[in-house]
């Protein structure tokens, strides 16, 4: 029907602001002629019900609410600190390992060659006198 769109627009406007007398009259006239728009205007009450269903301002919260948030923030900061220092720690570890490997390689390069089969031979000379060991037996001294 003619005017339905205007009716919808004015119905919407009426929720945000006061309508002029002319606008209010148009709504009333149109609703008397258009059954569908009259039903919608009646359903506008549903939006008022919606507003009434809002939770109260002084909504009761769990007593631990603030403590929980503070604890969560503290844990998060700790994590952040770890993640902040983690790259530096990894870098330092890699550098330390590299230094150790370098030292190891350097000390090996200067060390005498090590082998399980040395060049040369060892002989036992049985003709030589056995080495003289010092006499540690002090009891003979007293006699």
């Amino acid at each position: 029907m003619l005017g339905c769109r205007r009716h919808a627009r004015l119905l919407d406007k009426s929720r945000d602001a006061e309508l002029s007398t002319r606008e209010a009259l148009f709504l009333a006239n149109h609703e008397s002629r258009c059954e569908r728009c009259a039903a919608l205007a009646e359903a506008d009450w549903g939006l008022s019900v919606l507003r009434e269903q809002a939770f109260p301002e002084d909504l009761e919260l769990s007593p631990q609410f603030t403590a929980n948030v503070v604890a969560m923030v503290r844990v998060d900061r700790g994590r952040e600190r770890v993640s902040y220092w983690a790259p530096a720690m990894v870098g330092a570890t890699v550098a330390a390992i590299a230094v150790m490997v370098m030292l190891q390689l350097f000390s090996r390069a200067n060390a005498p060659a090590f082998t399980n089969s040395p060049v040369g031979e060892a002989r036992l000379d049985r003709s030589a006198e056995p080495p003289a060991f010092p006499n540690l037996d002090r009891s003979s001294d007293h006699k």
């Binding site: 919606l50 909504l59 998060d76």
Partner: protein
């Protein structure tokens, strides 16, 4: 018919002492965190509860919003906008929850309750809200339940004011139709 609530304005309701506490908060002061949480928690939980229609879930979302806000405090260019920054995070988290929850539309299978018509009405309202898309539902709740101005809704939802107008018009129209259908079926 309804004027915008003058007292509650999360966007411009930032007090200058927030600046001092935010600075302390950046330095890792727990007392500052406590102060800011205590100051904003009721309003934040209420907003989340109105959007999600579940006060326990709302508390979870509000806690997450606080955590995220404190984590991203370095992104806040103007400390005076902390409240709207916080509400924007909360609304975004609510939107994410709504999107993940929205599986199938609710059906009106004749609401029956022994607790009287008030509970019945509440259930109908919640079911109607569930049928709306998260964007429409959010706009409707922020305007009708939270009674925020169009500018505030636009700022919190991070959309142009024209988008708020058109979404609100669509949401209201759809809600009226759904309300009619629900009343026909329960009658």
């Amino acid at each position: 018919m309804f004027g915008t609530r003058a007292v509650v304005n999360p966007v411009s309701d930032t007090l200058s002492d927030d600046l001092h506490w935010l600075e302390r908060c950046r330095q890792g002061d727990d007392a500052a965190v406590t102060y800011l949480v205590n100051k904003h928690r009721n309003r934040l939980v209420r907003t989340a509860a109105n959007i999600l229609r579940d006060r326990f879930e709302a508390e979870d979302v509000a806690q997450d919003a606080f955590l995220k806000a404190f984590r991203e405090l370095h992104r806040l260019r103007d400390d005076r906008a902390f409240a709207s920054f916080l509400y924007r995070i909360c609304v975004r988290l609510c939107m994410d929850r709504l999107r993940s929850k929205r599986a199938e539309p609710a059906e009106f299978d004749g609401v029956e309750s022994s607790d009287g018509p008030q509970i019945e009405t509440r259930i109908v309202v919640e079911e109607l809200l569930e049928t709306l898309t998260p964007e429409l539902r959010m706009t409707l709740v922020l305007r009708e339940m939270e009674q925020l101005s169009y500018e505030e809704v636009a700022e919190i939802m991070h959309v142009p004011i024209g988008t708020v107008r058109s979404r609100l018009h669509t949401a209201r129209e759809r809600f009226r139709h759904l309300w009619l259908d629900a009343n026909k079926e329960t009658a």
